[in-house]
């Protein structure tokens, strides 16, 4: 199993969710984060003082999937999240050793 972590633009959540649902991936966890990469922040002015806004708001999506789904899922996320503009985000993949469904105790792929 793999843990796919995608950092995306907040406005792309719906597209990503739909794309994954179409792939039969039926679970995900989302959190609000801030980040920067190629897309640097910019400077703003507050009460006449310039200040750097280094971090821009993004969403982090975590999706546990079977290894077999990885390629398709990565591609699906990439397509759905891609606006072609800087700041579109990253997809990271970690190895997921174990997964358990709390309610039933099922483990492994059955738990996803």
């Amino acid at each position: 199993m793999k843990l796919l972590i995608a950092i995306i633009k907040p406005s792309r959540l719906e597209e990503v969710r739909t794309a994954l649902t179409d792939l039969d991936v039926h679970g995900m966890t989302v959190s609000e984060v801030k980040g920067y990469g190629r897309q640097k922040g910019h400077s703003e002015i507050y009460r006449g003082a310039e200040y750097a806004v280094n971090f821009l708001p993004k969403l982090k999506i975590e999706i546990a999937i079977e290894a077999s789904q990885l390629a398709a899922a990565t591609e699906a996320v990439r397509e759905a999240a891609n606006s072609g503009r800087i700041g579109d985000g990253k997809i990271f993949v970690l190895d997921l050793e174990q997964a358990t469904r709390i309610r039933t105790g099922e483990t492994g792929a059955a738990a996803l």
């Binding site: 703003e44 507050y46 009460r47 003082a49 200040y51």
Partner: protein
């Protein structure tokens, strides 16, 4: 029975009337005179019977009757009503200015960072409470208990007449005046609270408030509104651009200097860290509350509404006050747009408030264009003054010094433009005298506090936030 005994009198009146009026008018004229007499008699008798019932002597009863008739004929309900109107003005004005305490609270809780919001709320509740108590305990008499041309009143508590005993000889009831003046003191303390926010120690701030509201404000207040030396010299400050706003501003400036900036506000190489406020809607609400309260602040400073001229002036003051604020907001908005491209709403909020402070020294005499001009300059002042203070490393969290001190000076200085009875020189003397006294005295108090209680929280508490460190309650707790 009584109609019988009035008969001879009625005859005489009828004869006089016959000589004077043509027939239809006569009938009425005759009736009128009789009616008048009947009415007056009834009023007199009612008053004297009432006096008798309450155990007065016959002479006293006769006097009471005479007084009642005299009051009726002389239209002295005009006098009674004027006094009620004046008192009502103080009560309405008073509750509007009292409401400004909520305005300052919202403005300041909106402009401090999330971690210091509860503390800012606490300080504002406490300062309004302390201002009330101190202004009763000594403040009112320090301000109004002195002699003409003097420097300070007496340090005594203030007493109101017993229930039902206030005869409003001053033209208004005693307690209403106290209430109205008290709300002004609280506004002064609120100004300080905003400037030194996010690092001042709670109890030191409260100690400063005790002195400010009990002594400092009343002393300079005495000089002018208490009939002291500035008043005699011809200084003019209608509703307190200097007496209230600049005094608050000077006390805040002394605090800002002595307490020092928030940790991290000013970097080593001239860098300035923006520390955005926690809630723009609350800051905006605060501004609107203050704007509303200002109609009481300026309008009721007319001190009387028992004549048509007085309430006409109050109306004019309402219009000018509103338009100066509007001009301050619009001017600040345009200036911010031109200078910074984006329209920082906190600057516009400060601009409106600066417009209000600017017109406060003379809200009556300016024509509308003059009021707009005075307010607009106030609005522009803050837009440029805020970054200048930053460059001077003076850390004024909510912009209290530009708004209340700078615009207060501007408003006071410009009075002679529209008020021919005033002079620029005297205005300047007043500004300097009050500024020097307040700044020096405030500095002494802040320094004394620094040497004893300490004036700022530990760096750790500051970084943790005062809400956790001193209040124990987060303003917006999470899960």
């Amino acid at each position: 029975m009584t109609s019988i005994i009035k008969f001879p009198f009625a005859i005489l009146v009828t004869i006089l009337a016959l000589l004077a009026f043509s027939q239809p008018a006569f009938a009425q004229g005759a009736d009128y005179s009789a009616t008048i007499n009947t009415t007056l008699e009834a009023i007199g008798e009612a008053a004297s019977s009432a006096a008798l019932e309450e155990g007065a002597s016959e002479e006293e009863a006769a006097a009471a009757g005479a007084a009642a008739v005299s009051q009726a004929v002389a239209g002295s309900f005009g006098d009674r009503d004027a006094k009620i109107f004046n008192t009502l003005l103080f009560l309405i004005g008073g509750f509007l200015v009292m409401w400004m305490a909520a305005g300052f609270t919202m403005l300041e809780t909106g402009l401090v960072r999330k971690k210091n919001v509860s503390m800012q709320a606490l300080k504002n509740i406490a300062l309004y409470s302390i201002a009330g108590i101190m202004f009763w305990l000594i403040g009112y008499n320090v301000m109004y208990g002195g002699s003409a041309g003097g420097f300070v009143g007496t340090f005594l508590p203030y007493n109101f007449p017993a229930p039902g005993a206030d005869t409003a000889d001053a033209g208004y009831s005693t307690a209403s005046d106290w209430f109205f003046q008290m709300a002004f003191v609280a506004a002064t303390a609120s100004i300080v609270s905003g400037a030194v926010a996010e690092r001042v120690k709670l109890w030191s701030f409260l100690a400063f408030t005790v002195v400010l509201t009990g002594v400092l404000y009343p002393v300079t207040g005495m000089w002018q509104w208490g009939g002291g030396w500035l008043a005699e010299m011809g200084f003019s400050d209608f509703a307190g651009s200097t007496l209230v706003h600049s005094v608050g501003g000077w006390a805040a400036l002394a605090g800002v200097i002595i307490i020092g900036a928030r940790t991290g506000k000013f970097g080593p190489d001239g860098a300035i860290t923006a520390m955005p406020g926690s809630s723009i809607p609350l800051a905006t609400l605060g501004m609107f509350i203050l704007w509303l309260g200002w109609f009481g602040f300026n309008g009721a400073s007319q001190l009387a509404m028992g004549t048509i001229a007085d309430i006409g002036d109050i109306s004019r003051i309402f219009a000018n006050t509103n338009l100066a604020a509007a001009a301050g907001a619009v001017a600040a908005m345009i200036a911010v747009k031109l200078v910074y491209k984006k329209v920082d709403v906190t600057m516009v909020i400060n601009g409106a408030l600066a417009g209000l402070v600017s017109i406060t020294a003379e809200p009556l005499t300016p024509s509308v264009p003059a009021a707009l001009f005075i307010g607009a300059i106030g609005g522009v002042i803050v837009v440029f003054a805020i970054p200048i203070l930053d460059r001077l490393k003076l850390d004024d969290v909510v912009g209290a010094i530009p708004v209340h001190l700078f615009a207060g000076i501007w408003g006071t200085l410009i009075v002679p433009l529209t008020n021919p009875g005033t002079s620029y020189v005297t205005q300047l003397i007043g500004i300097l005298a009050i500024g020097a006294f307040t700044f020096v005295a405030s500095s002494i108090v802040w320094l004394a506090l620094k040497a004893t209680l300490g004036v700022r929280v530990s760096e750790e508490d500051e970084s943790l936030g005062l809400d956790k460190a001193e209040v124990g309650v987060e303003a917006y707790p999470e899960f």
